[in-house]
Symmetry: C2
């Protein structure tokens, strides 16, 4: 077992790792579109919305496009998802309300308990592609107990840009090796590892819905591989 | 009574408003210097250290000097304070430990209770001249329940620079009028008010020690004038 006594802060990915965006967006979409007599596959709609959001970050990362917040990306990509499902009857207010639905996501069942356990000995920090206001609003609604939030609006780029991981140890004033990145996405963890951070993989087989499970990483690829944040807290001796 | 239903976030000054830096630094100084047979007026030493810290922010604010963190200012101004008290026998390790004493300050007796009450309906945010790591370390030790920390290292200047207050509403994605600055220093509140923030004055008569009490601001100068953070929570309907 690796030695984790040196770890001072756990920096968490938010979307997928801490919160279940797919169920939350399915619920938000149904709440707004259901009463307008749309009967869609809400989970599929959530996936069809999430994909262009991820794609929209690439030109910001490569500096082809100036930084815009994830809130803004949610609003602009909504039109793509709605078009795909043939929805044409939302007004601007409804679209805004739905785009802000990404601020109203619920955590996975283990997230808050695990984070509270970890907080006893470690700083529990959001290192998110979400902007601060997005992650903070979500936390206030859902009771997610961040010690502090490092949003993408601080460095004005998106993970897995190396600048984000480098900024975490700089803002926290600790060595990269004292930071452990916690995520369910190999791409996030691989980039963190390449910048000298420790890594914890949390398995979220249902992130994209039933039947989309990715294989677990092989043992040793990351410093920790767990099924839940509570299991991570156990491993960290919290 | 003003209407505060529009307020979404309370942004707190930290040093003096939330924590009692004078008692904390007196204790830290005594812990390091006492065993070396120094018997000083520890509170006076704390004041003599705090003054050059505040002065050292001015050249950063005016851009005569590049931004350096408050942690760094603590270390460099320590030499000024020690010289004033004739202390010449601290080595680098001891000086570093003492400078980091600013991360180990305790809150005033009402701070945590008041903040926890306010958190039910509002975002409780640090808007500090401290860098994130300094404010976060202090919070972890003392149990200060920030929803998030906006440190001076984000904008790389010092209050009362207007850029800091403007950044608060930008990072929180709310109007300046939805932010209430909470501080015990008129200069901080005056600057916040001039940028459109609401203002709450908390009276901290002992900030600089016994016999240094400043007069209460006249009624109406700030939106709220209270004696404690718990009283602020009452006024805000928390």
């Amino acid at each position: 077992m690796a030695d984790f006594t040196n770890i001072r802060a756990l920096t968490f990915d938010v979307f997928g790792t801490v919160v279940d965006w797919r169920s939350g967006i399915a619920r938000e979409a149904e709440a707004i579109l259901g009463p307008k007599a749309h009967a869609l596959d809400w989970g599929a709609l959530a996936n069809s919305w999430r994909r262009p959001i991820l794609q929209a970050m690439a030109p910001v990362r490569s500096a082809e496009r100036s930084y815009v917040t994830m809130d803004a990306l949610h609003r602009e990509t909504l039109d793509v998802a709605l078009a795909e499902f043939g929805v044409t009857d939302l007004d601007e207010t409804e679209k805004h309300r739905l785009a802000m639905g990404w601020r109203r996501l619920d955590p996975w069942p283990d997230s808050i308990e695990g984070m509270n356990l970890l907080k006893a000995k470690h700083a529990v920090v959001a290192l998110s592609n979400g902007n601060i206001a997005l992650v903070l609003s979500m936390a206030k609604r859902a009771g997610i107990p961040w010690d502090t939030i490092l949003g993408a609006d601080l460095v004005r780029t998106y993970k897995p840009d190396a600048a984000i991981y480098d900024s975490a140890s700089r803002f926290l004033d600790i060595a990269p090796s004292q930071v452990m990145m916690v995520a369910c996405h190999p791409g996030d963890l691989d980039a963190a590892k390449s910048r000298g951070l420790m890594t914890a993989y949390v398995h979220r087989p249902l992130e994209w819905g039933p039947g989309t499970e990715r294989p677990l990483p092989e043992a040793g690829v990351y410093d920790v591989i767990v099924q839940t944040v509570t299991e991570l807290a156990e491993v960290m001796g919290a």
